[in-house]
Subunit: 109 residues, 2 copies
Amino acid sequence: MRRSKTNVSLVFHALGDPTRRAIVEKLSEGPMSVTQLAGPLDITLTAVAQHLQVLEDSGLVHTEKLGRVRTCRIEPAGFSALQQWLNDRRSMWERRLDRLGDLLAEPED
Amino acid sequence: MRRSKTNVSLVFHALGDPTRRAIVEKLSEGPMSVTQLAGPLDITLTAVAQHLQVLEDSGLVHTEKLGRVRTCRIEPAGFSALQQWLNDRRSMWERRLDRLGDLLAEPED
């Protein structure tokens, strides 16, 4: 089980790196092994493993070793945390714009 | 005018810092001056100015000097870039799940 509360700081940090975003983009096509990930990204297995560790710690990716193959897949919960953070910001702006609209709609007298 | 293409790397980097997220959260309540931002965050004006520079460079915040007061506000375009990146990922997963659903729904013969 992943921890239930995803740390939004870790998510933003993890996705701030272009190679880690490329890994997420590859995994969005479907689960794959570390070797399958490393090939098209043209980086070493060691580098992929380090990036995967950061992505796992942030709750964005789940990896699992089956026999001798480590398979990686997207963990939607991490992305939900990011979406929630964005939604919270947007709802604040919208409430503010609603209040402004109400003020402008009030009769002047 | 902001540049039309927001760099998603800069957006993630900017929001990976908890003080910068706190600035964004404060500004979601409405535009405010650098001094108004610095007070509740309990950091120096210099530190706020440095964080604001990162937020401006990433297209998340707009600042404008009117007389002697620099006013800061949210720049929705930066957040749209982040939302778009998330939407693109989600649509990839959904397409994949649709294909999986189609395969499972195919008659066996």
